[in-house]
């Protein structure tokens, strides 16, 4: 007998609990009284369990399996919410659809009720539906069946209610009606119109297929299920969410786009693809690929990798004549693998179909050999980002713009401006958090009409790579360069690919028996060593596919590397073993247990050593000759995930699951630097060809380049949207190649970092304040509080040039000559004629520190603390006259600007006034009282009609030169501003000061539109360069930042 004070075992407790649970709460007490029959312990147990049950139901909710027990299908007559089901009209992946009518409605309109399969979307579906309801209900278009209602049944099954459409799926319709090609195309154009309407309302469909496109008796199409994918898949607040939830959503394989299979972002381009499949089917009654008898994963492979069959080959010879040419080309463009190669919009797609119908040349272009060759070059960074920016992904667009648009009290214009500013702020914040996908969505949400410099800048930061390319449908495990610049990529998709350059695929090998964990070229041997997930290691001859097996499958995770002379191969395994083989004989040279597995291996580039790293965080360095242990290092808390040698074999870089990377001396084992910037596993490391920098990449989707000695000077290479799992640098140093877990690869060069930051290396721990930058061509010279210039050239990097004087405050290039003028703290004017290392001439300027400088054609003006402006004649720099404040106020001159025509000099004074001097008559023509605080910067616009002022009170104002008009762009009472710059197009002002932020102000909108964060010290100067493609800021944090905004996408 069970002792009374222990828990009742057996099945009695569960049974009674479940029985009680099935009763209504009010009937439970009586049932339990009876069932427990005086057993107090049992009764107390049941009571406490029943008490716990309602809360416990949430216990595993977030882990609930996606597919749940599916209750019996409701029968006709059943009620769901206020609807009575009449009959089932369809059933599919998402659930069953019923014809129904409202029970509480006198005018019983028939509707379609979609009962969602349990588990899809989970308990959040109702919340999401509510969030989306307004947007979806507002989709008023004759071609779109409206979503009317949604909720969940008492047993928790969500349902959606939409307009009932009495029609026939479009693929059946065209056959049944016997439409000719023209008729089919015209019907298709009507479909496009509805989809385009939805896109313009920021809703994408994601599941376009004939069964969702019904054609009514009058021949008009109605699209079903618009926006439902979104409700089911959840808010696309981040691409990672999209990715995971996207897989949870039952896609329709035959209509799904490559990005849906690859887990990429779903965008309007996804619908372009879907429409392509629909049109293909309308014209040929088949699919673009041979899907017959294929399993789902084979379909995925076809969609991801195979070329679509030309539609003209799908039909009889007669019909083919009608399709060959234009229609083939149009469809293949719509069905392109890469979203950016498809039509940019549904409108473009429809326009091409219309051109074809009207006999005009279409804009789609067939894939020529030339096209394939130039594909990578064309898909350069700016193009990719431009296309990325046209993707409309909904979530944030809706969140920001709908809220703003619907602000009933604000005017439409004001709401739009607010939406714009909010989108940009959100985008900047997302970029700061490295959420590129979110940032793209925010930018896309920004009203197009208002986009300007700041938008271009932020867009350019979405993707800093030179381009992306892809051959693998899944994760990249290894990238290895051959000496001739070819590289190979290995993937868990069980294949390897060989490339002659980024995007230039030479060959693919496989699929092998399991995922490829690693592969490497053999020097002096055409073969490649391959290690598979199942543990097999073999040498593959790419020419004929023959293999020489070194190790059969069995041990799992063969991580291989080839010695630099190509004579030996090493492999580490999951069980902790390392083996080394002789390539020529295939003989095993040595085998030993090295670490806890899996073990990663890397040969030193000079062939002197073999490094191995294991799951226990240890790294071994062995002599390559006898494989004797030379160094046993415990470097990481957790598994060593990646290993790389410096090119001179003196150092090793390691990356670990513990989120750190290290650089150690390969002879002594001493740690040279420890890098902790990653927020996830450091999955890959590589040295730059000169060994000065390390690139590391990891589970935080970032590729970071950093100084191999200090771990500092970090560049963030942004673009990947999945765990970055492999990295390599080309032998000539031209490229970095990275590969991620979605199978995407990217190529990078030196421009790749987020915001180009030029840093003045601290000399003897003195960190100089950078005070002003001047730009000539693409090189930047910067005056600093150290007695030297910082000069940066994109090809040579950074260097410090000694200047023969005190710290400099002002700097300018003389237009047209390349001569450089400097104004110094000790009141000297320095002129360096000619190019880089020309001679300096020094002129003393009385009146204390030289605070302001303006340089024009053949003339320079300086302003000093004594309040006197002096004119100098170039090139000899002879003093040519003085301007002095005639009130005798003699306020220090803080800034000077010469009008573009050279006729007027604006002088900003510490007394809060700007005085406009006529250069010809040396007279004050106008005094503008800006405020009570110092005017720190004054600037003419490009045509000299307007004058902008920045003030120590934080205000920015724009004054008309000819009239009394003034526009306050930024009110005072804020942290002080110290500098100001006009964009060349005159629509933007950049302002910066003590708050370390670069403020971008829109002159037409009369307000601040963006704030750029990054500097950690006050901003000392700002200048636009290269026609507005660059904005440079200098700061007391010893850096110059180049905020770029490419002019042409």
């Amino acid at each position: 007998m069970t002792p009374p004070d222990t828990e009742p075992g057996g099945d009695e407790l569960p049974r009674l609990f479940a029985d009680a649970l099935e009763l209504p709460p009010e009937a439970r007490d009586e049932f339990l009284d009876r069932a427990c029959a005086g057993n107090v312990v049992l009764r107390r147990e049941l009571d406490s369990l029943l008490r716990a049950h309602p809360v416990a139901a949430q216990l595993f909710e977030r882990f609930a399996p996606r597919r749940d027990v599916s209750g019996p299908a409701p029968a006709a007559g059943a009620r769901i919410g206020p609807y009575r089901l009449l009959r089932e009209i369809a059933s599919g992946g998402m659930g069953a659809v019923y014809l129904a009518e409202r029970t509480d409605d006198a005018y019983s309109k028939q509707v379609a009720v979609k009962l969602i399969r349990p588990g899809l979307g989970g308990g959040e579906i109702t919340r999401r539906f509510v969030a989306e309801r307004q947007v979806l209900a507002d989709l008023e278009h004759p071609g779109i069946a409206r979503l009317l209602d949604g909720g969940s049944t008492p047993d928790g099954r969500p349902y959606l209610v939409m307009e009932y459409v009495d029609g026939v799926p479009v693929d059946r319709f065209v056959v049944e009606r016997g439409l000719d090609v023209r008729g089919r195309l015209e019907l298709f154009l009507e479909i496009c119109e509805a989809v385009d309407y939805a896109h313009r309302n920021l809703v994408i469909h994601r599941d376009l297929k004939p069964s969702n496109i019904l054609v009514d008796a009058d021949g008009h199409p109605r699209l079903l299920d618009f926006g439902i994918a979104k409700v089911l898949a959840g808010s696309a607040s981040g691409e990672r969410d999209d990715l995971t939830r996207g897989t949870a959503l039952p896609l329709t394989p035959r209509y799904a786009s490559p990005e849906q299979f690859a887990g990429g972002r779903m965008t309007t381009a996804t619908d372009v693809y879907g429409l392509g499949v629909v049109l293909y089917q309308m014209l040929t009654a088949t699919f673009p690929f041979d899907f017959e008898d294929r399993a789902a994963h084979e379909i995925a492979d076809l969609v991801l990798h195979a070329e679509p069959v030309r539609p003209s080959r799908r039909v009889s010879r007669d019909a083919a004549r009608r399709l060959t040419g234009d229609l083939d080309t149009i469809l293949l463009q719509a069905l392109a693998k890469e979203p950016e190669r498809r039509y940019r919009t549904v409108q473009d797609f429809a326009a091409d179909v219309r051109r074809h119908l009207n006999g005009f040349p279409v804009q789609a272009r067939p894939d020529t050999v030339g096209y394939r060759v130039s594909r990578f070059a064309r898909r350069n960074r700016s193009l990719v980002s431009a296309v990325a920016a046209t993707f409309v992904v909904l979530a944030v667009a809706l969140a920001v713009t709908t809220r703003a648009y619907r602000d009933a009290t604000a005017s439409r214009q004001e709401a739009e401006v607010q939406a714009y500013v909010a989108s940009l702020a959100a985008a900047e914040a997302s970029l700061g958090a490295n959420k590129t996908g979110e940032a793209a969505e925010h930018l896309e949400a920004a009203p197009e009409r208002l986009r300007g410099w700041e938008w271009r800048h932020l867009r350019s930061r979405l993707d800093r790579s030179r381009g992306s390319f892809r051959a693998h449908g899944r994760g990249i495990t290894r990238i290895d360069f051959a000496a001739d610049g070819r590289f190979l990529t290995a993937s868990v998709d069980s294949t390897i690919a060989v490339w002659s350059g980024p995007g230039d695929l030479v060959a693919r090998h496989g699929p092998f028996a399991s995922g490829v964990e690693s592969a490497a070229f053999l020097a002096g041997d055409p073969r490649v060593v391959v290690g598979l997930n199942d543990g097999a290691v073999f040498l593959l001859d790419p020419a004929d596919g023959t293999r020489a097996t070194l190790r059969d499958a069995g041990e799992r995770w063969a991580l291989v590397d080839a010695s630099p002379d190509g004579r030996r191969v090493a492999a580490g395994f999951l069980n902790g073993l390392v083996r080394v083989w002789d390539v020529a004989t295939g003989e095993l040279v040595k085998e030993w247990r090295a670490h806890d597995g899996p073990v990663i291996v890397a040969w030193a580039p000079d062939g002197s050593a073999l490094a191995t790293g294991g799951a226990d965080g240890t790294v071994h360095v062995r002599d390559a000759r006898d494989l004797a242990l030379r160094l046993d290092l415990s470097l990481h808390e957790r598994r060593v995930y990646s290993l790389a040698w410096s090119p001179d074999a003196s150092r090793l870089a390691t990356g670990s699951i513990d989120r750190t990377a290290r650089v150690v001396d390969a002879r002594t084992g001493a740690t040279r630097c420890s890098f902790r910037e990653h927020r996830g596993t450091v999955a890959s490391v590589a040295f730059s060809p000169d060994g000065s920098r390390v690139v590391s990449a990891g589970a935080d989707d970032r590729v970071l380049a950093w100084n191999a000695e200090t771990g500092g000077d970090v560049s963030d290479l942004r673009g990947h949207r999945a765990d970055v799992s492999a990295l390599a640098t080309s032998p000539d140093g031209t490229w970095w190649i990275s590969g991620d877990w979605s199978g995407e690869m990217r190529a990078w060069d030196w421009t790749a970092e987020d915001v180009k930051t030029i840093r003045y290396a601290a000399v003897q721990s003195v960190v100089p304040v950078l005070r002003q930058a001047a730009v000539r061509d693409s090189s930047v010279a910067c005056a600093s509080s150290a007695a030297s210039l910082l000069v940066w050239d994109p090809t040579n990097g950074t260097r410090a040039v000694p200047a023969p004087a005190w710290p400099a405050r002002r700097i300018a290039f003389v237009p047209g000559s390349g001569a450089l003028v400097l104004g110094t703290d000790d009141g000297r004017l320095l002129l360096r004629s000619g190019e880089n290392d020309g001679e300096w001439t020094v002129h003393d300027v009385p009146g204390g520190p030289l605070l302001a400088l303006a340089v024009g054609e053949g003339v320079a003006f300086t302003g000093s603390e004594d309040g006197i402006v002096r004119r100098w004649a170039l090139p000899g720099m002879a003093e040519a006259g003085e301007f002095a404040s005639d009130e005798g106020a003699r306020t220090p001159v803080l800034d000077l600007d010469l009008s573009p025509d050279g006729a007027t000099l604006a002088v900003a004074g510490q007394d809060g006034a700007v005085r406009l001097w006529s250069v010809g008559s040396v007279r004050i023509e106008r005094t503008i009282e800006v405020g009570s605080r110092a005017v720190t910067d004054v600037a003419f616009d490009a045509v000299g009609r307007r004058l902008a002022t920045a003030c120590a009170d934080g205000s920015v104002r724009v004054w008309s030169v000819d009239s009394a008009d003034v526009l306050a762009l930024r009110p005072g009472g804020r942290s002080a501003l110290t500098s100001l710059a006009w964009s060349p197009d005159g629509t933007r002002l950049a302002a910066g000061g003590t708050d370390t932020v670069v403020h971008v102000l829109s002159v037409p909108l009369g307000r601040e539109v963006a704030a750029l964060h990054g500097h950690v010290g006050r901003i000392t100067s700002l200048v636009f360069a290269r026609g507005g493609a660059w904005l440079l800021s200098t700061s007391s944090d010893a850096t110059v930042r180049i905020w770029d905004a490419p002019l042409t996408p």
């Binding site: 406490s48 897989t247 589970a699």
Partner: protein, 193 residues
């Protein structure tokens, strides 16, 4: 004696056929494989990462079984064993990490935290669950088994029913019971405490 097969499909078939030790071997094979995948696929260390054992087990199924075209009816059995392996992996993982931060002992979690259990891959709650699940298995083994299958293996009620050879309704009853029991146990609300 022939070396025991390491091919998952083969062991799976043996396990179904009742070969002695086959299930243990399958578990061992799966454990190492899933552990590798857990590291590799999920990179648990992502700050924002929510552990999804269900996806992991399904991925394992796809990689190990589907690709070798194993018979569909083995799926439930495979998933059952994979769910055991998954539990061990998650708990080992949490324990390894936890041991660095804390001493041993059974963590007790506050009631309000128990309500959003596990969602964030919280080590403490996972260990507490593991501990409570062992206790549940001692008194109500069938209910505990259902939790292991559903929670760690991501099996549906029907798949659980197939594995345990009971009706889906019975599975559902066990599930409801186990949840209440575990919640009570983990929140320290059991009578007599």
């Amino acid at each position: 004696m022939a070396e025991p097969p390491t091919d998952v499909t083969e062991i799976l078939l043996q396990a179904r056929g009742g070969a002695p030790g086959a299930t243990d071997r399958l578990l061992a094979a799966l454990y190492s494989d899933l552990r590798g995948m857990a590291d590799r696929f999920l990179r648990h260390e992502r700050a924002d990462h929510t552990l999804q054992p269900t996806e992991l087990v399904h991925e394992a199924y796809f990689r190990l079984v589907d690709q070798t075209r194993c018979a569909w009816q083995d799926r439930a059995h495979f998933l059952a064993i994979a769910s055991q392996a998954m539990r061990r992996i998650l708990v080992d993982h949490a324990r390894r990490r936890g041991s660095a931060k804390r001493g041993g002992g059974v963590p007790r979690i506050p009631l309000h935290e128990a309500t959003n259990l596990i969602g964030g891959g919280d080590d403490t709650t996972l260990l507490a669950l593991d501990f409570a699940l062992d206790k549940l298995a001692a008194v109500h083994p069938d209910s505990a088994r259902v939790v292991e299958l559903r929670f760690f293996g991501g099996l549906t009620h029907e798949e659980c029913a197939g594995v345990l050879d009971v009706s889906p309704r019975t599975v559902s009853r066990h599930w409801e019971f186990a949840r209440a029991w575990l919640y009570r146990e983990m929140s320290g609300d059991a009578p007599g405490y």
